[in-house]
Amino acid sequence: MGSNLIVNYGEAVAMILFVIGFANLLLQNNLIKKIIGLNIMDSAVYLFLAEKGYIVGRTVPIVVNGVQSVEAYINPIPAGLVLTGIVVSVSVSALMLSLTIRLYRRYHTLNLDEIAALLQKEGL
């Protein structure tokens, strides 16, 4: 059962990184570490996608010396999807960091437990 996992070690590493990022997102108390965990999770998904487009023995999909046959290049479509994903990931990070700054201005703490306690006192 484990032989497929060892042959595709890239995908296994992507899965481990996803789990580490997800655990960070859910279990950390500090807001900034949650955001870093979300970024690690995003990177793991992009690694998995790009690994699926890689074919052993072929090279970068840029036409050099007029070689235009399809057999000499890797699959370029997953790379296009990941490119869009990276830019969306930075937008989401910027949005969440600005929300963190507003939360700090209101509650003066970055700890999620304390913010929840303060919210309960306010009656929300």
């Binding site: 970068v60 999909p61 840029i62 036409v63 370029p76 479509i77 790379a79 296009g80 999807l81 490119l83 869009t84 990276i86 830019v87 969306v88 937008s91 989401v92 910027a94 949005l95 960091l97 600005s98 929300l99 700054i101 507003r102 201005r105």
Partner: protein, 198 residues
């Protein structure tokens, strides 16, 4: 690839950048004149004014090392960014990476020389007009495929010789549009976080 075969995905992604910028603007924009007129809590506006003043006091005040290095590096970074954007269809790079590199160059300029020098060429009006023009050009350029693609009409855009910089139809123009939008977005994120105003 992402500008011809999956151009709609790239349009949607420019949309995501636009929405993120608007949200950051709404959350972090601090307008001194307006906050005196609106009856906000006195404490919050005073604290924001103090933060803005504190941030301005952290400006380099002619830090010599940073200014020497920035005088040398910023033109190099901007030229490299423009090269990456223009050569998107011939070598690795394209709109997004070139735009991010140019945005980083502008951020370095802002850090080294302060807000007053940067406001000479990049104000709120600049950002609005560049974003609007770039996104509209992208939208108009790609509507031709609604007419040619499904109806089997001929597309009259010259394709050129592969390997030259003016080849491959509309990809060059789309790269420039995407590069402009990404540059403005990255710079706006940084300025909103730092000062709250352009």
């Amino acid at each position: 690839m992402i500008l011809d075969y999956r151009a709609f995905d790239t349009f949607g992604e420019s949309n995501v950048l636009f929405v993120a910028t608007i949200t950051v603007l709404v959350l972090l924009h601090f307008n001194k004149k307006q906050s005196k007129a609106v009856s906000e809590t006195q404490e919050i506006s005073k604290r924001q004014a103090k933060e803005a003043a504190l941030d301005r006091s952290f400006e380099p005040k002619n830090d010599p090392i940073l200014q020497c290095v920035a005088k040398f590096l910023v033109p190099l970074i901007l030229i490299f960014g423009i090269y990456v954007v223009l050569n998107g269809h011939l070598s690795p790079g394209g709109g997004f990476s070139g735009g991010a590199i140019m945005g980083a160059g502008l951020i370095l300029y802002l850090n080294a020389f302060g807000f007053e020098k940067t406001e000479r060429f990049f104000t709120e009006k600049t950002y609005k007009w560049i974003s609007f023009a770039a996104l509209t050009t992208y939208c108009l350029c790609k509507t031709y495929s609604f007419y040619c693609g499904a109806n089997h009409l001929e597309s009259h855009i010259p394709l050129g010789i592969p390997g030259h910089i003016l080849s491959s139809g509309l990809i060059l123009i789309l790269n420039i549009c995407v590069g402009c939008v990404v540059t403005c977005t990255m710079y706006t994120f940084y300025v909103m976080f730092r000062k709250g105003d352009f």
